[in-house]
Amino acid sequence: MDFSFSDDQIMFQEAVRDLLANECPPEVVRAAWENDTGRTDGLWASLAEMGVVGMTAPESAGGLGMDETDLVLLLEEAGRAALPEPLLEHTAVGIPTLAEAGGSVAEAWLERAAAGEATLGAGPDDGYAPGAATCDLVLLIGGQIRAVPVGSASLVEHRSVDGSRRLFEVDGDAVVLDADAALAFDRAAAAAAAQCVGVAQHLLDTTVEYAAQRFQFGKPVGSYQAVKHHLANTALKIEFARPAVRHAAWCIATGEPDRSRDVSLAKALAAEAVDLAARTALQCHGAIGYTFEYDLHLWMKRGWALSAVWGDAAWHRNRIAEALGM
């Protein structure tokens, strides 16, 4: 039993954190809300250059041969920065699923995806595929996995409350992949959970910072116990969600028999953490947090979206109940 990450894993996390701090400030996220694609100008290429985009691909396909335990820290960073790029769909779900499936689809797409030359999208079969218009191949995950090339598909776009998430209904000629759909779903749920933790951490950090410098009645509002306890409760939720999320990543990487149950544990805890973080952040900011100009809502709305996708807390709690035989 060893919960520690290796020096290499920590260094990779720090490198990605530095990159995102420089290249993904709130202005960049805000720009993605307003442009045609919902994505950034050049960040995906920077991430590809660092090896992040294709890290989960086997080395034989040009990737780094890394697994979920390597990726989970980077997903937390992506959440922390509200990165508007398809790290979940492409790197956490698309590439490992194609690698598992093999065959002609993998032959056609895997190496290009690993190199960042082709982008993979993903969505639940009965839901939306975010950013599908900027992708080349979309995986629709239900009882089976259908791979739809975007070039020949029809797309219907909807707006998300998070302006950088462009939601698409995807319909078109599909190839059914020879891959485990339940595993692909769990990869997505666990990745969403990791991003939820990152979003929640950012919401907490910025709210702590704000509460320490906002004065009312001659004192920082963060010195009042009512505010302190809101923030302590949020910190508690994050503290107890994060290890469960990392454990879920390990379960996927090693094929643990209780994988689905423990991915559900992670997603339910992370969803509850980010939901509380968003509520607390808004309440402790007061009216300034309720404005469109202030950056807080970029994270709040990302949190709302990620909490709900790939099974919300209630859905995953039901799955846990069934796994426990109740």
Binding site: G222, A232, F240, P243, R317, A321
Partner: protein, 380 residues
């Protein structure tokens, strides 16, 4: 990161499980907060000690087997899953012993640790006073020096199992002119000291689980001073780190209770049918226990990497104490008309769980610690 257990850890688990299956009493013992139950639990501590299971993580010379922290967590998982009795010696073993290891002289370590581990000497904590609870630095009990003795006058209260304990670990004011955190010392007080009277107080369950301690010129030799004279606050804070954190309430206890709760739901669902609302409450409790488990193993890795337990212990204290209440409250609701019956272990557990958010620093104090010392919010 490797979250599987090593073959050594698995072997340790198997050995513990096998021993517990063969040795745990078939019938539950009487409550440890009654005179006869206290002695039954003491006898169980002797059995555990003689088989090497009382203090697995301690050095061999004091009766331990030098188990790693992970192995201790494994032992706790197996211990509580086996339905073994509560640990009557836990205040000494979990709260005082870490302080003796850190601050005790070699003579004190040799004198106290082994009898404590075997349950030959059972310890109770004498910290709170009628006017000093959460605000521990407000204690008034005086113990000025007189030659090689300290002379204690004052009153302590809420001493769990203090009515039966053999020894007390007390925080007292050895400098009578001092205030707040200064001038305090940590004294180990024999229960039979002249001038010390312990009077039982009925707890919420009606049993004499609490005691008040009255000191009237009680003389305690300086060899029982733990840490430096006047340095009691620093020594005491080392103990609170243990109390709130890893040592007192390991996840295994709550994992076992959550598993029993899942079992109770299934058993009742067979006769009454499913009830999705209550089922979700059961899931909530199960999730809390699992979240605590993984957070504890993650903390173990941090500690092994050299990090101090520090204020993060407050996270654990809030989590386990509120989880314990939730678990038992859910069980009582599941039981329906039988929920209010006094003869159920779930009601006993519920009444006990309600003390958790109060003792060891109320959860309001813990949330202050989290917000000020972990998050860095301004104190005022």
């Amino acid at each position: 990161m490797d979250l599987s257990f090593t073959s050594t850890e698995e072997a340790f688990r198997e050995e513990a499980r096998t021993w517990l299956a063969e040795n745990v009493p078939a019938e539950p013992l009487a409550s440890m907060d009654t005179p006869e139950g206290f002695e039954e639990h003491r006898a169980w501590e002797h059995i555990l000690f003689d088989a090497g299971w009382a203090v697995v993580s301690w050095p061999e010379r004091y009766g331990g087997r030098e188990a790693s922290l992970v192995e201790w967590l494994i032992f706790e998982e197996e211990y509580w899953a086996s339905g073994a009795p509560g640990r009557v010696s836990s205040n000494g073993v979990s709260l005082l012993a870490p302080t003796i290891f850190d601050f005790g002289t070699p003579e004190q370590q040799d004198r106290f640790l082994r009898p404590m581990a075997r349950g030959d000497e059972i310890w109770a904590q004498g910290w709170s006073e009628p006017d000093a609870g959460s605000d521990l630095a407000g204690i008034k009990t005086r113990a000025p020096r007189d030659g090689d003795h300290f002379v204690i006058d004052g009153q302590k209260t809420w001493c769990s199992r203090g009515a039966f304990a053999d020894w007390f670990f007390c925080l007292v004011r050895t400098d009578p002119d001092s205030e707040r955190h200064a001038g305090l010392s940590y004294l180990l007080v024999p229960g039979d000291t002249e001038g010390l009277e312990a009077r039982a107080v009925g707890r919420l369950d009606g049993e004499p689980g609490f005691a008040e301690l009255f000191f009237d010129g009680a003389r305690v030799h300086e060899r029982y001073l733990l840490g430096g004279e006047g340095e009691g606050w620093a020594v005491a804070m080392a103990t609170t780190g243990s109390e709130r954190g890893l040592n007192l309430r390991a996840p295994g206890r709550f994992m076992a209770a959550a598993d029993r709760l899942v079992g109770l739901y299934k058993e009742l669902a067979e006769s009454r049918g499913s009830d999705l609302g209550r089922r979700d409450q059961v899931v909530s409790a199960w999730m809390g226990a699992q979240a605590y488990r993984w957070q504890t193993y993650a903390t173990e890795a941090r500690l092994r990497g050299g990090a101090p337990i520090g204020s993060e212990a407050s996270f654990m204290k809030v989590l386990w104490s509120e989880l314990d209440v939730e678990l038992h409250a859910t069980a009582l609701r599941l039981l329906g008309r039988d929920g209010e019956r006094a003869d159920s272990s779930w009601m006993d557990g519920y009444v006990f769980a309600l003390s958790g958010p109060i003792y060891a620093g109320t959860n309001e104090i813990q949330r202050n610690i989290i917000s000020e010392r972990v998050l860095g919010l301004p104190r005022r």
